[in-house]
Symmetry: C2
Subunit: 391 residues, 2 copies
Amino acid sequence: MAGFSQRMLALGTASSEIREAFAFAQQRIAQVGPQNVEDFSLGNPSVPAPQAVRDAALALFQDLDPVRLHGYTPAQGDAAVRAALAADLNRRFHTNYSGDALYLTCGAAGALCCVLSALGCPGDEFLTFAPYFPEYQVFVESAEGTLVPVPARLEDFQMDLEALAQAITPKTKAVLINTPNNPTGVVYPQEDLRRLGLLLQARSAAYGHTIYLISDEPYREICFAAPPAWVPDCYPHTIVCYSYSKSLSLPGQRLGYILIPPELEDASLLYAAVCGAGRALGYVCAPSLFQFVVAKCAGITADLQLYKENRDLLLHGLREMGYSCAQPDGAFYLFPRTPEADARAFCARARALDLILVPGDSFGCGGHVRISYCVPPEQIQRALPKFRQLV
Amino acid sequence: MAGFSQRMLALGTASSEIREAFAFAQQRIAQVGPQNVEDFSLGNPSVPAPQAVRDAALALFQDLDPVRLHGYTPAQGDAAVRAALAADLNRRFHTNYSGDALYLTCGAAGALCCVLSALGCPGDEFLTFAPYFPEYQVFVESAEGTLVPVPARLEDFQMDLEALAQAITPKTKAVLINTPNNPTGVVYPQEDLRRLGLLLQARSAAYGHTIYLISDEPYREICFAAPPAWVPDCYPHTIVCYSYSKSLSLPGQRLGYILIPPELEDASLLYAAVCGAGRALGYVCAPSLFQFVVAKCAGITADLQLYKENRDLLLHGLREMGYSCAQPDGAFYLFPRTPEADARAFCARARALDLILVPGDSFGCGGHVRISYCVPPEQIQRALPKFRQLV
């Protein structure tokens, strides 16, 4: 056996069910044509970036000195960009942040890795509700912590705060939430977030150290019912991790941020530790062109209405057939219960019809299946009869 | 004390002498004007990106479907981009790589972090020649390894292979070289690289495990004498880390690669471990727009001739005044000996003249000073009388 890092080797060779499903879909598309395969495996935005992104980029190439456009920014991001993004948050959420509360990152994954590495001490526990985005486990382990999944309420995939209260221990460093949620599409109501805040406040006081809340919000703008709550309003010790991958359909450009509100306990120390983590992980700075682009596009999104139309079409269709599905008011995922208890067996039956889905087991919750509906609506129309055949 | 990662806190609050010098320069510029301060602290390219970069980007915005232009690429990078970059290497270095030998990264820092994390097991030693880029220590420690600096030959800052032979132990996982070198500007001749290869081959055989060579080459294209050697020609177990930050003047866009030649021992396993490290560190993929841009610009560079003119002007001037300086045939740094043994004292004297330099101590080599001459030539002209005053 080569003397390489066994952890990295395992991570690099482990077959992800999501990637494997996607690869199978690609193979079938090559064999039988794209009109005969319905691939719902990946969370890759299907609506194009808005025209404003192109306009902003072209203007920057036109007007900005290339040495500045392509130059290093400070590690935490260009100061004017951070000020513009803070002003946009203040406008939308009635907050009062300065740009110095923001640290720009290579996407939400970079944001999570820097926050977890800044917070994490050996032995720390990070709690999250299952089902959950599988990379959480990887990122928490990179930060020398342990991910402790707590089952969400199976009937609606909302937070089970009683179960969370049971799982919090003196080792709990932070709770990590994701709303709108991947893989369930569920949005947490403000009232529940406030109850979560009170719970964390009480347990922080009981243990004599702050339990932080990490709010992973790449889907914040994809919300079909009421606008989402601003999580730091519900608990002051909230760190927000954000990405423009979904709101502006820019997943490949790797641009996001960490927000550390000044109200957070030891905010300036945590900000410094995040800067240290950015150095330790080799990030240097977030990509400069798209720093400038997202500042010019503050408050703008891609045409996210298309996801709501897909959601309605698919949810209505599946429920009519008798599928049971928690109310998905955001993101671009459905997580219905499978007719049989074994979700992998269901996915195999679906695959035999060239309908490509990912079993919930990948997200720490069997008996369900994830459907990524960031696809053309015609694909949903073609898929519905296959879902009917499977129920 | 906040319960954060003590390592990240220390990295985030430690004052880097380079950054501190740069901040001081900015402050003095604000006070006395840019025409009165000569800042040689940062290695930020001063020549603009070539027109080809702008042309390529504009064409991509024009012609490529935005869902593809801005979408996730595979973690290792777009397949066509990797094939194009491999073809360019093959053309220039008479090699025969496929795109599958390349893993695209967020710059050379991301490349080094992924390679070191893939290779590193607790207790591993990584050897490098001092003076060296100070982040090497940070990156090696992130990979649970120990950086062991070996002094280069003080008279010319070439590799001291006898000292290296003494320092290699059974714990040595890899040797990390940087040619053209930051901070000395020295280029290693092919003959020395071949001798290094023979040494590593002999010691690998003696210990029964391969000692890898990591060649960090962000300055490969900034080479004023003979073209640089192709390091894998000198030792088959060479991993190349590259960046477009300097060759195309794109440091802010974060684009580079790792090359793992197929001849390397356990090449495919190491490639898998690099993929695992990319996941563990949260990289997802290198920024997609600039993946496509560098593929279109393969073989093109910024006008790097300007650096040679700066080198000649400054080197000639300093030597004429009596400064002693190893022959800097590449990169954009000089590393002359300071008149006094205490380089920090020399830098303080220089600073009193608003001449901003970084003491060699920051690079693990006192008694010298680093001059980053990626600046307008007028700044060098203005600085020469100050250097004369200090000698």
